[in-house]
Symmetry: C2
Subunit: 145 residues, 2 copies
DNA sequence: TTCTCGCTTGACGTATACGTCAGGCTATAT
DNA sequence: ATATAGCCTGACGTATACGTCAAGCGAGAA
């Protein structure tokens, strides 16, 4: 396997804790984050991250990795990438994070309301399905004697 | 407003309880079911219903209306139209509904498992979001004094 | 020099359940 | 005869989050 400048970035013995210690190639970043390279490029397209370039190759610093963690967390919490993008851009242009925190609070509450609704809907559906399940069992029991 | 043979079908005074009492045009059917005409045509395309034709116009009998109720119920319970289609075709070719009931039971149980997972995931997400909500509040409280 | 890696961009594909035209037919009302 | 209403089919559009090519470039290796 030949590795080019990409791997050189991560493999400079003795320089691990320089100012820009942990630079990663797209392969290393996707590996570390558990997402595909396609996903990283996709998020970049959408403006969620802006990895540096060395020539044409993407380089992921701790900043990008941190943002990716936030993005993935947002996804786990059920926010769309559009929403996540909005949060991040607020985050960028709001050093004190006052506006950011307020809007985050709002979004969080809205999402909570949604989830509570969903939870109720699911409970109802589960109840109804349990009824159907019981009826199916009876139906089968009758026919089998 | 002019109504053609469509409305004539539903408007035959004195004949309400003929053998084929309640025949409906697509407009009346969609109205009664609370779905769009497009939806009815779509389900027909997918083979879920087979309304009769008078010339080229669709006519919905009680049979189709009944199937539509089942379809809509299946949707509410979270089954895909493909799954619903499979149930219905089993239903058709299984007069005793033994096979049907067995498979329905399986599908029901699978769906229940899914829903219970979802419910857990939602509970976790709600918990996490509540934490974030509390943190946002603290953040704002600090800055506002 | 030629091969092979890893990377690049761009564009089209996927799944779901319809929405939204566009163009055209027919029957009734005027 | 013409307008209008209601219906028809067929085809493309929508939203989401990527997957999957295709074609090509620069850099070490053989």
């Amino acid at each position: 396997m030949s590795e080019q400048e990409t791997s050189d970035l991560g493999a400079m013995p003795g320089f691990e804790d320089m100012k820009q210690g942990d630079l990663k190639s797209i392969a290393q970043a996707s590996e570390a984050l558990g997402v595909t390279q396609r996903t990283l490029r996709f998020y970049e397209d959408k403006g969620l991250i802006q990895p540096k370039r060395v020539g044409s190759m993407r380089v992921y610093s701790r900043r990008e990795m941190g943002r990716m963690q936030l993005i993935l967390r947002g996804k786990r919490l059920g926010f769309s990438i559009r929403e996540i993008g909005e949060f991040l851009s607020l985050y960028d242009h709001d050093p004190d994070q006052v506006v950011q925190a307020k809007l985050m609070l709002e979004a969080t509450q809205e999402r909570l309301a949604e989830l509570r609704h969903q939870r109720e809907a699911i409970e109802q559906t589960i109840t109804e399905l349990e009824t159907i399940e019981a009826m199916s069992r009876q139906h089968l029991a009758k026919r089998d004697g």
